[in-house]
Amino acid sequence: MNELNPRPAHDAALAERSRKFGVSEGDDGIVRCDACPVLCRIRPGRSGACSRYANENGLLVRTDPVVLLAEAVTEGQHVVPFAENAEDWDGSVLAPERVFVTGIGSGTTYPDYKPAPFIVSSQHEGVDTVTVVTEGIFSYCGVKVKIDTDRHLGPETAAVRANGEQVGHVTTAEYGSQMLSLGGVRHLTGGSKKEGNATCEAMLKLSNGEAVELTIDGGHGVVVQAGQAPIVDGKPETRMRVGCGSATIGIFAKQWQGHVDEVIVVDDHITGVLTEHQAGRVLDMRPAGIRVRGRKSTPGRYFQVAEPGMGWGGTDITEPLSIIQKIDPAVAWPGMRLLMTSTTGEDSLYCVLDENLLPVEAEMPAVVRQVVERIGENCEPSLCTVTFVAGAGGSLRAGVTENPVLLTRSVQSGATRVTMGGAPVYVWPGGGITVMVDVLRMPKNAFGYVPTPALVAPIEFTLSRELYLASGGHADEIVPVEEVLRAHGGQARIEGGAADNPWPLRRDAL
């Protein structure tokens, strides 16, 4: 066990910070640390075996640096590297009015009957604001994963597994994207210990921007990583579909006119047939007499032409001609030019009907190929996005104010701004404080976990001092941001705010 490094200024800061933590035990001021299985009993003024937790005046403190988000003075200003080499920092980069203290590394006061680790006040545009900074332990949390692909990943409601344990399920598909809902209290703590741990690990990795391999019951394997293309059964996806088959017909009908006599756009949702489609009729195209399989929705639009799969347009089709049910000899004619394509342009086939009205593959004319390629050009790159969803409505609020419902109400009304690691969140309407955040807008490695298992995530509440005090805020705990900088600036990790994030202390909101 170590003596704390004798750094007087920092020791004072540590002591100040430690006061906010609630863990303590026994006589002689000994603290039992339960951060790891060693369960060190730490005497006052000393750190545990890991040097990461210490006992300051009978209270357990974390010695990890807190993350300060610095408003970049000039655009593109890079992250100031930090951590151990505190002496490299000249301190001049951080002007108090340009600094936002994030919850990362601030520690938590779970179960939150003590004031949150940092209640920081700063002047912004002449208005006195208060930011309450804490790390919340989120038992109720999950991630929603949006996977831009039409490929069938697995049936809706199917179990999604990581390391063989169910960590979530396939949920309602969105336009061009498959959606997974992972985590949640039932997988975290409602099942076996193994299930809970697998869930926690998958969520932690996804939230921290790492890749996770998932399998879907009755479906496929997919590697998901925020901001990266999904890898389905080992093959990276490249394109989102331009639209459903019907939409594709609508967009490109005019460009095909005169160059082909019929176009079939194969899609798992709606397969489009140009001459039957409203778009073909408007262009006065001659009916081609080709009937595709599936259930007709409206003219030229067909549901369920095939099973979902890894083939053309998210169907199981690899032989596109197989979706043609019949060709009407009274309507079709020899020499008819038929184009079949998927909704991403990745698969296409050009045929000409022979004298027996059978489609025979032919070389695709350049002008037709150009339109197929344009479908591809109009596809957006296929990405995975990870949105962290959590409820901050519980005891966490007690660390912020003595009258938690007032905090809930001021968040709901928009008077209190909520950020996570400085990133903007969406606050769900209705009761409680349920928030969603794009994990890529948060600083790196913003998430942690506790063995419960539950995730630990930073959360900040920013409001005017007046409103804070009116909401029963911990008035005595407010410290000026200058003081936090003085105390922690030399130890903190300092990052520039993400370029596309609004500054957490938005002027017009205050």
């Binding site: 299985p37 009993r41 005497r43």
Partner: protein, 294 residues
């Protein structure tokens, strides 16, 4: 779920951390061997701390006439490494950091038999693998207060050995564990990191002098669960006379030479107040790079 942290550091090193175990690992010998070794390291590390804490009570008992009935592989490594020193007060905890490094290294070697060289550095206690033609340079930190390498040791594989597995460990009163002596740093080369760890502890304890400038306190006053119980441990060393420094180094060197004769260590470097003493094979000598200020 894994309860530890896993990260890749620059230079494709692997960082594994849980509680006091803080491992920086590097393996060389082609990407597939490296990745295999890293996967094995992660596997071996998973649950290792929990396994150790399960036997913590017994591991904190001083070794006596009978070897303790430990079950975990790492716990047994610890006891085995300390067994030779049981004539004095020692508990298996003296080798904990080195034994963790050895366990992880053993798993890496088993999974990736064609590694050219590798190290597992657990907070300064290092398991090392070298092969002929692939030596490894280990930086030596003579002062834990300054905490920067001020020289290095180049380790070569023995000419006859296809793979040469060894360990280096450093102990001192400013380090992570308590020391009963006044050595700033005692760095030991031995057959394994656990043996080096135990021997460094023993030599650092012996590097001592009775002097008013040395402040000691019973270990349990500092850490209520310390395996050293009420034994006095060094908490501060004031300015020492040259005579006291020499006396402490002589005492430590005598112990190191005895361990060398018994085949328990291959070499040792002792440092007290910027004075140096080297014991053992010539290859285990500190090279001070000319471009580095001491």
């Amino acid at each position: 779920m894994k309860s530890h942290r896993v990260a890749r550091l620059s230079g494709n090193r692997l960082h594994l951390q849980e509680g006091p175990s803080d491992l920086v690992i590097a393996a060389f010998g082609g990407p597939s061997q490296t990745e295999r070794a890293y996967a094995a390291a992660e596997d071996a590390f998973d649950g290792l701390l929990a396994e150790l804490t399960g036997e913590l009570r017994m591991l904190r008992q001083p070794l006596a006439a009978q070897p303790p009935a430990l079950t975990g592989a790492t716990a047994r490594r610890m006891a085995r490494a300390c067994w030779a020193f049981r004539a004095q007060y020692i508990t298996p905890m003296a080798a904990v950091a080195g034994a963790v490094a050895d366990t992880v290294m053993a798993a890496m070697i088993a999974a990736a038999p064609r590694l050219e060289r590798a190290y597992v550095n657990n907070g300064g206690d290092i398991a090392i693998l070298v092969t002929p033609g692939h030596p490894l340079d280990i930086g030596v930190v003579p002062s834990l207060a300054r905490a920067r390498p001020e020289g290095f040791i180049r380790l070569h594989a023995a000419p006859h050995a296809a793979q040469h597995f060894r360990g280096i460990a450093t102990s001192g009163w400013r380090g992570r564990s308590f020391s009963r002596g006044i050595a700033d740093a005692v760095t030991v080369l031995a057959r394994s990191a656990a043996e080096a760890d135990a021997a460094a502890t023993v030599i650092a304890n012996a590097t001592d002098v009775q002097d008013g400038a040395v402040l000691r306190r019973p270990a349990q006053e500092l850490d209520p669960d310390s395996d050293l119980r009420h034994l006095p441990v060094t908490v501060d060393v004031g300015p020492l006379s040259p005579k006291a420094i020499t006396a402490a180094l002589n005492s430590g060197a005598r112990t190191a030479e005895a361990l060398l004769r018994d085949g328990l260590i291959e070499g040792a470097l002792l440092s007290v107040a910027d004075e140096w003493r080297s014991v053992g094979e010539s290859s285990f000598a500190l090279v001070r790079p000319t471009d580095t200020a001491p």
